[in-house]
């Protein structure tokens, strides 16, 4: 079953099963939310190996603190919150900035695209998508994650605010500026291509 189709009652039933120690309940929870966990953490840290370790750490923490879950918010948001917190701490330990260094250095997202990103080899039809994906990768971790939570996971801004601990106005501002940056990067790349 897809995690998106769950109601709060379904969430609470699953949590109750896990807390009661019913066989297979926690495995079911992990199966339902592992994709979400990967999306959040991989958008933050980008390294696949680190992401896998941090996903494991996230679910161990979920298991440890599940008794603190209150069904006021969706379990999906609560788990995303734990994943975000684990990934954020990982980046802080590695002293990697999580937000907005690109705003001050003045270079465009296209200029920051990694050297090994081979845009030229892509077909004409997929070039704009390739440019966009390269530009998304160049956004700071927090902006990438907010965009993913909003567009891919379809979390409302209020829930993203709960996940990240940022004010709703700040989330909107990140969404607005990141999407504008991406559109500008796309326009720039089309100009370059032309």
């Amino acid at each position: 079953m897809d995690a998106d189709s769950h109601t709060l009652a379904d969430d609470q039933a699953l949590v109750d099963d896990v807390l009661a120690g019913r066989p297979g309940a926690f495995e079911r929870l992990v199966t339902q939310y592992q994709k979400l966990c990967w999306h959040v953490i991989h958008r933050m840290v980008r390294q696949a190996e680190d992401t896998q370790d941090l996903c494991q750490e996230t679910f161990l923490r979920v298991h440890q603190y599940l008794h603190q879950y209150r069904s006021e918010s969706a379990l999906k948001s609560w788990i995303a919150q734990v994943a975000y917190s684990v990934a954020k701490r990982h980046l802080e330990r590695k002293r990697i900035p999580i937000a907005e260094p690109s705003e001050v250095d003045g270079s465009s997202l296209l200029e920051q695209a990694p050297d090994d990103f081979d845009i030229e080899s892509a077909s004409i039809e997929s070039q704009s998508a390739a440019h966009l994906h390269a530009a998304i990768e160049c956004l700071p971790p927090m902006q990438r994650t907010i965009l993913t939570l909003y567009h891919l996971e379809e979390l409302p801004i209020g829930e993203i605010s709960v996940v990240t601990g940022l004010a709703e106005g700040t989330i909107k501002s990140h969404l607005f500026r990141s999407r504008k940056q991406l559109r500008d990067a796309l326009s720039e790349s089309m100009g370059v291509a032309a």
Partner: protein, 148 residues
């Protein structure tokens, strides 16, 4: 409506259209410019977790919880026993030697000289600062480690 507000509305319209799958219908040029952006953002990501990830994590979580549950009662009993022992020792020492300590304190301060008071204050200040630092570190750590 100012420029930023208009552009925000265009971004949101593009997002709604892309979600609904009707991107070609009646979009103004500004909104249409955002369609490739939201489409790229909605593209599914490859998930690099092994097939048995859920089963493995579930086994590990259950094993850890069992180990913690087994350790906790014994640790608690030992802590209580040690605390009681320490308290009893302190009480016995105070009863036996307490009178001598109280009479010796003023004499000890007299021997240390006039500057000793400031050193005691400095020591107390250092201990206080160290304690406060530890409290702040613990609070920060627990906030980062546990879900809000």
């Amino acid at each position: 409506m100012n420029t930023d507000e208009r552009e925000w509305q265009a971004q949101e319209l593009a997002a709604r259209a892309e979600r609904a799958g009707n991107v070609l219908l009646d979009l103004d040029p500004l909104s249409a410019g955002y369609v490739p952006v939201v489409r790229a953002l909605r593209e599914p990501m490859a998930v690099g977790l092994p097939e048995d990830f859920a089963a493995r994590v579930a086994r590990l979580a259950v094993a850890r919880a069992s180990a913690t549950a087994a350790d906790s009662p014994m640790e608690n009993r030992m802590l209580i026993a040690l605390g009681l022992l320490l308290g009893l020792s302190a009480l016995a020492s105070a009863i036996i030697y307490g009178g001598n300590w109280f009479s010796a304190i003023p004499a000890a301060f007299g021997k240390l000289g006039p500057s000793s008071g400031s050193w005691v204050l400095l020591l107390a200040g250092c201990l206080g600062l160290s304690w406060m630092g530890e409290q702040v570190r613990q609070r920060t750590e627990s906030r980062n480690l546990s879900p809000r």
